[in-house]
């Protein structure tokens, strides 16, 4: 309830669920977690009087149960704001927005530009993460569940693509871009943006009972955005501050 933030302040640090997906999150060899989402959260929480973030790595599929079970105080790092999710958790105002992307074989032999293109060709397989927005996009647009092979982590997904186990890899645009850059495989190619799906916007996510905490967070986030500090945090990671400033939570989940 209302006391969550007080508890965190007393404790001196917040426990934050972070996914293992650059550039949303970026884990340094010494274990320090940065990346666009944790950095934003860190700045916001500092404003709220919490000097430290302790991050816990949680796969996307497990973030909501982790919040519900209060294993973490909040989840950051690119959990898209989706109506279905809003039934279970509450979000801050959007903090990171980006287009969707596919990774495909060089030259895009199947000419895949949209999820509908995948649905139209039941021979093809795609991979994305368990419980991710991309899985929902695909299913909503007619891709059959049998066509989706869920990967345990994004590099495994890219591996599957390289090995031809799947024909398309779907994830957030910047995540995909980052991964392709690191993989540095000339046989792969980026398709961005994927048409026909909304720009994905993520926010910090909270347990549904923590609306007070969330509102305080929103206020601090707003200050951050207005001061321009926000842009200076996310830009180096490749995110566009304007895109984020242009949207509101209510665009995705009215009344959340």
């Amino acid at each position: 309830g209302a006391g969550t933030l007080d508890e965190i302040r007393e404790r001196g640090y917040a426990i934050v669920a972070v996914a293992n997906e650059p550039p949303y999150s970026d884990i340094k060899p010494d274990g320090f977690v940065t990346g666009a989402a944790p950095d934003v959260a860190r700045a916001v929480m500092k404003k709220l009087g919490v000097p430290e973030l302790r991050s816990q790595l949680v796969p996307y599929g497990s973030m909501i149960p982790a919040l519900q079970a209060r294993r973490v105080d909040m989840a950051t790092s690119g959990l898209y704001i989706k109506p279905k999710r809003c039934e279970s958790i509450i979000y801050s105002e959007p903090d990171l927005c980006g287009a969707e992307a596919f990774a495909v074989a060089a030259g895009n032999p199947h000419n895949l530009k949209t999820y509908e293109d995948i649905a139209a060709n039941p021979e093809l397989f795609m991979t994305t993460c368990a419980g991710c927005a991309e899985e929902a996009y695909a299913l909503e647009r007619g891709v059959k569940p049998e066509q989706i092979k869920v990967f345990t982590d994004p590099p495994s997904g890219i591996k599957m693509l390289q090995q031809g186990r799947v024909q398309v890899f779907a994830l957030s645009g910047l995540g995909t871009q980052d991964l392709l850059k690191k993989t540095n495989d000339p046989n792969l190619e980026l398709v961005m943006p994927v048409k026909g799906v909304p720009m994905g916007c993520a926010g910090a996510a909270f347990n549904s009972a923590d609306d007070d905490f969330r509102d305080m967070y929103d206020k601090a986030l707003k200050e951050l955005k207005e001061s321009g500090e926000f842009a200076s945090i996310v830009a180096p990671y490749g995110f566009s501050a304007e895109a984020t400033l242009a949207v509101k939570r209510d665009d995705f989940c009215p009344g959340n």
């Binding site: 293992n20 997906e21 790595l57 149960p65 294993r71 495994s156 991964l179 540095n184």
Partner: protein
């Protein structure tokens, strides 16, 4: 490989977590082994049955399923276990069920005459187990415990799937950060092998220590 070496601190922390997880679960499993193993030999039917239910439950279901149950389902009932604790409990309970069979088997293989000698000397049931049967059974348990310890070490890899930052999980992080596959996996396979080899060596050392000076094979009569 350089990229992996750069991430050596992460691997090191994963190694520490894995070892801690293994040792803590081993301690729990040891306690459970004895409690459940002894309960199997209880004169009270109800106690024996409880022990069997425990045994069959933890032996009969997959450790991964147990882990997910503890991590995701128990909190829904308000039982909140931090991941590392859920990992320790799941691994410990799982291995404890196997260990209890080892304890029971070893105790049952102590000669019946040793029971009778203890009764003839008017030992209480507790004293009989504490001072006569268990001390003789322990050397018989050690080799099996050694094998179970390796099983436990391997089981801890599964906890990576409930986000415990053990060695296996660290390898996934390194993969995400570097987009390498062969090197991180090879590295942790070797690390696991080294840990288990050290553990086996340690158990062998304990076996030698406990068998020193006494010969557990009782030479009775001609």
């Amino acid at each position: 490989m350089d990229a992996v070496l750069e991430y050596a601190p992460l691997l090191w922390r994963g190694t520490v977590t894995t070892v801690e997880l293994t040792l803590a679960s081993a301690a729990l499993a040891l306690v459970i082994s004895f409690v459940v193993g002894l309960a199997r030999l209880s004169p009270y039917r109800a106690v024996r049955w409880l022990a069997i239910v425990y045994l069959e439950f933890f032996r009969g279901t997959s450790a991964l399923v147990q882990l997910f149950f503890m991590y995701f389902v128990l909190p829904l009932w308000g039982i909140f276990l931090p991941p590392i604790l859920a990992g320790i409990i799941a691994c410990g309970c799982n291995l404890g069920s196997y260990g209890s069979e080892v304890v029971r088997g070893a105790l049952q293989s102590v000669a019946k005459q040793q029971h009778e000698a203890a009764i003839a000397l008017n030992y209480t049931t507790y004293q009989r187990y504490r001072y006569v049967l268990i001390p003789q059974a322990i050397p018989m348990m050690l080799p099996s415990f050694g094998n179970l310890l390796i099983e436990l070490l391997k089981l801890t890899a599964v906890t990576s799937l409930i986000t415990i930052n053990d060695l296996t999980y660290m390898s996934q992080i390194i993969r995400a950060q570097t987009a390498l596959t062969l090197e991180p996996f090879l590295a942790i396979l070797v690390i696991y092998f080294l840990i288990s080899t050290v553990l086996i060596g340690g158990m062998k050392w304990i076996e030698r220590r406990t068998s020193k000076g006494r010969n557990t094979i009782v030479r009775q009569g001609a």
